[in-house]
């Protein structure tokens, strides 16, 4: 079965005074219908730009998609006119951003904004759109939805605003929702509420979700499949279980070992990944991770590793993937 979304060799660059920054560098991944996929990586790794590329919202200049294909149900979004693309955004792909306050207009009521969104995409009258908006607010768990329609964004808490954003993203029942760090600004209790909601609503509507995050706990809880990004490239992709229990890229392994876990206390020191991620303007030769890699061999400095097949459903872009082994550290000591 063809995937809902197939990204093939996507390349997006930012052309700055100091040169070309390859924010997304030959990235390929798939999302199946109804699947919950995570794109995980640290700041500046290109994960958000990759999502903006799918929506064709990369700010130009200085950014530009310079190659590849983004196939939504087999149709290449990069070949659509701006007019056609506007029909895709919202209707076929919804988006939820990190800070809902910047996505909501402070001078219009929540109700007005949802109604406008619905009517921009669907040919229905105001009353019908209003009823639909109330239904959506109810769906995302806003108490007294009819009353809250008349409220302004500042009258909602951060978590409630993010619920409204989810309602708007889902208003046209898109096939895919892209959520870019949707809970980073929220408290952990509210994060749990919002993500549980996103998961359950997506399931009800059989919408696929692409979750962009740096939080490995969130990924473990919600994602079926995981793509790990580093310096503009996907370094490892597999099912969530494989990523966490059989990581084969040294960066994935390093990330997993450096995150403190609430269910574990292992001595006083955390293992770390030495050094810093490279600047996209000054990338090292060969494998981009080699200056920080504990598994380095001579070849890593010269040749860039392609995505190598670990199993049918697991790739790692590392010459030494066979040597990378998480060993016993995954033995769970939780209660």
């Amino acid at each position: 079965m063809a995937a809902l979304l197939e990204i093939r060799n996507l390349r997006t660059s930012f052309f700055t005074d100091e040169g070309e920054a390859k924010a997304v560098d030959n990235v390929s991944y798939d999302i199946q219908e109804g699947e919950f996929v995570a794109l995980v990586g640290e700041s500046g790794c290109g994960k958000s730009v990759s999502a903006l590329s799918v929506m064709r919202l990369v700010p130009f200049p200085p950014g530009r998609i310079i190659g590849g294909e983004i196939l939504l149900n087999g149709r290449d979004l990069l070949k659509l006119s701006e007019q056609e693309m506007r029909g895709v955004r919202g209707n076929e792909i919804g988006m939820v951003f990190q800070e809902p306050m910047t996505s909501l207009n402070p001078v219009f009521t929540i109700g007005h904004q949802i109604v406008e969104t619905i009517r921009a995409h669907k040919d229905i009258d105001k009353q019908a759109a209003w009823r639909r908006a109330v239904e959506l607010l109810e769906l995302v768990g806003i108490p007294q939805p009819t009353d809250r329609m008349a409220d302004y964004p500042h009258q909602f808490s951060g978590g409630m605003r993010q619920r409204v954003m989810i309602a708007m993203a889902l208003s046209c029942e898109p096939k895919l929702v892209i959520a870019d760090e949707p809970t980073t600004a929220l408290d952990v209790t509210i994060q749990a509420q919002v993500l549980e909601l996103l998961e359950s609503v997506a399931e009800q509507l059989s919408t696929a979700v692409l979750l962009i995050t740096h939080n490995l706990g969130v990924v473990a809880r919600y994602a079926h499949r995981v793509n790990v990004m580093y310096a503009g490239k996907i370094v490892e992709q597999a099912t969530a279980d494989e990523i966490y229990h059989n990581p084969r890229h040294p960066y994935t392994l390093g990330l997993l070992q450096s995150v403190p876990r609430m269910d574990r206390v292992e001595g006083s020191r955390l293992s770390t990944i030495e050094g810093l991620p490279p600047s996209l303007l000054r990338l090292p030769g060969g494998c981009y991770f080699h200056p920080r890699c504990p598994f380095i061999v001579e070849r890593c400095e010269r040749e860039e590793p392609p995505a190598m097949l670990v199993t049918d459903d697991h790739t790692a872009a590392c010459w030494q993937w066979n040597e990378v082994d998480i060993g016993d550290s995954t033995v769970v000591k939780s209660k």
Binding site: V188, T189, A192, A220, P260, V265, P277
Partner: protein, 338 residues
């Protein structure tokens, strides 16, 4: 290890000594209304908090935004004037001291912020930023001595002393946090309040900074009060934990005990909300998700402030605020259902 460290410390009387004691601290902000800004109520950001911090230990304060944890930190450092209560530092009630009398104590307690970038002057070299307290408090006898100290501070936080002449924008988030820590260390403090020291950092860098804080604690016998919302981080660094909600303490215990046996329903809910980076563990976990948001501190619920979101609340919870009780040795809980 903690005991040894404390005994070696100059000025420590006994290993069990508390460096900081907070007694019934209150920090109210007035709510005013009308033309004459009449006081119509109070926001009780910190409402009757008592706690002790032992020398060489790390006390963590956890809670959601709006729980008052940052205000508590500011009050303990005397960066804000409390409405009531006492703060004892090394046996002295610092709230009773005049500005001049307090000066020597100011040097002994320092602060690390979430994002030092906002406190770094963009046109000041990071070397002068780190060295500034040495100049202000006249801690360096000569220029040579000053340069030597600054270089030493850079090395102690893992930065190359050759970088002292650079400007803040040339540094990454993790490096800027190191610069902030170096400045705090310039005063050779005994006590550091760290307000969300790693929450703005990436995972791999976060681990480096947490390790650095632990190393510095060992090396200089520092006592920390860490304000954090990430319970995974807290479990890793804290010796003792205070759980706050709407200006009040819900639970206090040693970190190990708290994570092994959380008793307060709020603590349980907080822990339940933190996803564990392991899909197998997550699938097996029963989560209990709190409903709603933290209420406004301007209009807190009656009785137990948590009762509006509490899964096990009963009628009595609405009546009187529960006192903090020692439910197990060294483990205090403010809940009548425990």
């Amino acid at each position: 290890m903690t005991t040894e460290r404390a005994e070696n410390m100059e000025g420590a009387r006994t290993a069990q000594d508390d460096l900081v004691q907070v007694k019934d601290l209150q920090m109210y902000f007035p709510i005013t209304a009308g033309l004459f800004r009449r006081r119509v109520g109070d926001i009780k950001a910190v409402d009757g908090i008592s706690l002790n911090i032992k020398r060489g230990q790390t006390l963590a304060i956890v809670g959601e935004s709006g729980s008052g944890k940052t205000t508590l930190g500011r009050a303990i450092l005397r960066l804000a004037k409390p409405t009531g209560g006492e703060i004892w530092f090394d046996g002295v009630n610092i709230l009773r001291l005049s500005g001049r009398q307090f000066m020597p104590y100011r040097q002994r307690m320092q602060v690390i912020f979430q994002d030092p970038y906002s406190s770094l002057h963009p046109r000041m070299t990071v070397g002068s930023f780190v060295g500034e307290p040495l100049v202000v408090h006249r801690l360096a006898a000569s220029k040579v001595e000053y340069r030597r100290r600054v270089a030493e501070l850079f090395r102690s936080v893992g930065l190359d002393p050759a970088m002292t002449g650079r400007y803040p924008h040339e540094f990454s988030g993790g490096q800027r946090q190191r610069i902030g820590i170096a400045r705090a260390l310039a005063m050779q403090p005994e006590f550091i309040v760290a307000d969300e020291p790693v929450s703005a950092l990436d995972v791999s860098v976060q681990a480096q900074i947490l390790n650095l804080l632990a190393d510095l604690q060992d090396q200089f016998g520092l006592t920390y009060m860490v304000i954090a919302h990430d319970l995974s981080v807290v479990r890793h660094i804290a010796s003792r934990v205070v759980v706050m909600y709407l200006g009040k303490v819900m639970e206090i215990s040693s970190a190990k005990e708290l994570f092994d046996d959380p008793l307060h329903p709020y603590t349980q809910a907080l822990m339940s909300a933190v996803p564990i980076p392991d899909p197998r563990v997550e699938r097996a976990r029963q989560r209990q998700i709190l409903v709603g948001d933290i209420p406004s501190p301007a209009n807190p619920p009656s009785g137990c402030v948590f009762h509006t979101r509490c899964p096990i609340a009963i009628d009595e919870c609405r009546g009187e605020a529960p006192a903090l009780r020692e439910t197990k040795p060294g483990h205090w809980t403010a809940c009548i259902r425990v």
